[in-house]
């Protein structure tokens, strides 16, 4: 039986992916106002652009401490909300203007050792019909202020629904919500087909030693399809049945107040059955990430991140599809480079280069046998609030103009779906889209 990776991607599916990417990359709010109320901090203390998701070193420490830090002035209600309205102008297709998303966040500390982040997301399916799903989940138990061999240490446990979402550096795709739109992407990429993002449950034990050394080890299981359905997910995106899954993370990070850098390794290994009655594929992701931040006096902030993940697959079966025998081994390779400049913690320009490639396989990746795609995200945004000296430091507004462009899809730039002569051809650039969005979080 052919796996989901062998599917031909029609235009509507590709456009849906682009729309989802734009939603995630352009508007994800991790600068949850409930945290600002809990800590007395401004959004901009944890997020350079005062809206997220990219974290400052201070934001990383807040996350590592299990979202439990507080201003010590009583219990705050750990609830926040976000509304997003978007005008979407696709290269091909109809323009739309609509309320695209409404979210509720349950986010904050339960005790000095327990805290969490839960996002319940309601999406507009395009016809003013709304569906609600459990989005991100990260519940933590943390032991802070430990001393090991005379050095400061933090040890914690995270239960979450996306490998890498809990990462403090937050450059990995499931945390940054930025990964290359992939026809055959890695398991750690939220933009891969049948990705693990929000559809698995697991977590691990993590530790920060001497403020610089981070390590995490954990495991995940895919939620049953019935649970995915109850949580608001279409079962067609089921990541499949996972077994023997291990997640490993190791990173060195250095906060120098005016600058920050990190270098990390990440690995995920699993046996996956997709569909669930298929034979298991042995899959191993191995990646590295590098980040740098110039923070200075916070007037001009530059954040650079590069993530490179290679996935190796030993397929459980090598089916014959349209007379072609699929390969029994294959690779997928995802790379993301992102550069963001933020002025006065209010005006930002983000440019990202997203590349996904994989082993050529004519049977699995029709019409050209190449699962390669290249895309760019260019986003300009303004966040007037969320600073100590702004009208409010505990809520925010984000006005964003985002352009998502493709230069390659299915391995080519022209006639990406291999339409026969005389038929309507689709170019890679036909997947481009421009959006204007307004998000408000309070």
């Amino acid at each position: 039986m052919p796996s989901a990776l062998t599917r031909h991607w029609p235009l509507c599916a590709a456009c849906a992916l682009v729309a989802a990417l734009l939603m995630m990359a352009g508007n994800s709010a991790h600068a949850v106002p409930a945290y600002a109320r809990q800590t007395g901090s401004a959004c901009a203390d944890c997020h350079a652009g005062a809206y997220g998701p990219a974290l400052t070193p201070y934001g990383m420490r807040f996350k590592l401490n299990g979202y439990t830090d507080t201003d010590g002035q009583g219990t705050k209600i750990p609830v926040a909300a976000q509304l997003i309205g978007t005008r979407t102008v696709p290269e091909r297709g109809d323009n739309t203007t609509q309320l695209t998303e409404a979210d509720i966040y349950l986010a904050g500390r339960i005790s000095d050792h327990l805290g969490g982040f839960v996002k319940v997301e309601t999406d507009n399916n395009g016809k003013d019909q709304f569906s609600t799903k459990l989005s991100n989940l990260d519940l933590r138990f943390v032991a802070k202020d430990l001393k090991i061999a005379g050095k400061d240490a933090v040890i914690g446990v995270s239960v979450n629904n996306s490998p890498g979402f809990d990462d403090p550096i937050a450059a990995l795709p499931n945390a940054s919500t930025l990964g290359p739109p992939a026809i055959s992407g890695t398991l750690l990429n939220l933009s891969s087909p049948n990705s693990l993002y929000n559809r698995v449950i697991g977590g691990g034990v993590y530790a920060l030693y001497d403020d610089n050394w981070y390590g995490e080890i954990g495991s995940y299981n895919a939620m049953p399809t019935s649970v995915q359905d109850h949580l608001g997910y279409n079962v067609s995106g089921d990541p499949g049945k996972l077994s023997d899954t291990g997640y490993f993370r190791f990173a060195y990070m250095k906060d120098m107040k005016r600058q920050f850098f990190s270098a990390g390794l990440v690995a995920l290994t699993t046996r996956r059955q997709l569909p669930r009655n298929a034979r298991s594929d042995d899959i191993t992701d191995l990646g590295y990430d590098l980040t740098y931040q110039f923070l200075g006096n916070r007037e001009h902030i530059v954040q650079v991140s590069y993530v490179n993940i290679l996935e190796q697959r030993d397929y459980g079966s090598a089916p014959t599809i349209n007379g072609l025998v699929a390969k029994s081994h294959g690779d997928a390779h995802d790379r993301t480079l992102s550069v963001t400049y933020t002025f006065k913690q209010s005006y930002a320009l983000q440019v990202a280069h997203l590349v996904s490639t994989g082993t050529q396989d004519p049977a699995r990746y029709p019409p050209y046998g190449k699962p390669d795609s290249t895309a760019n995200l260019i986003s300009l945004y303004w966040t007037p609030f969320g600073k100590d000296d702004s009208f409010t430091s505990k809520a925010n507004l984000k006005i964003a103009a985002t352009w998502f462009r493709f230069t390659r899809f299915n391995g080519v730039s022209d006639n990406i779906f291999g339409a026969p002569p005389g038929a309507l051809m689709t170019q890679a650039k036909d997947l481009d889209a421009f959006t204007l969005s307004a998000s408000v979080a309070f």
Partner: protein, 132 residues
């Protein structure tokens, strides 16, 4: 024998005046408050503000120079700082901020490794002194 006693009394009177006047009347260090504002953003602003009555993870630093340690009523200090029997003079701030906080005040909640750039420290203290 008398003169030294009078001298100590005079010094005590000056100290009392410094405390009563918030110490800012006698700038002891040649810091640049403007440059100190940048140092504050870089070193302190994530945990403290200089807005009156606004605590973050750390207490408001509005009027810190001349204030007794652990004295903001609605901030939850560590026992270590509550029991610290000192006033935040410029010299005390210089002493405190030039070393790891947990070394200066064992048991404090404050996690700060210290500022080892003397010029920046003078600028920072000048900025703190200007906020009152």
């Amino acid at each position: 024998m008398i003169e030294p006693k009078l001298g100590r009394a005079a010094r005590g009177a000056v100290m009392t005046m410094m405390l009563c006047c918030g110490a800012h009347a006698l700038p002891a260090r040649a810091g640049d408050a403007g440059a100190g504002a940048d140092v504050f953003k870089q070193e302190c602003a994530e945990c403290h503000t200089t807005r009156q009555g606004h605590n973050k993870k750390g207490p408001s630093l509005f009027g810190i120079v001349g204030r007794h340690a652990g004295s903001i009523a609605d901030y939850s200090y560590s026992d270590a700082l509550k029991n610290a029997d000192w006033v935040w003079t410029e010299d005390k701030l210089h002493w405190y901020l030039s070393q790891p906080a947990k070394q200066a005040n064992p048991g404090t909640k404050m996690k700060y490794p210290g500022l080892d750039d003397a010029r920046q420290l003078d600028d920072l203290i000048a900025y703190l002194q200007s906020n009152h």
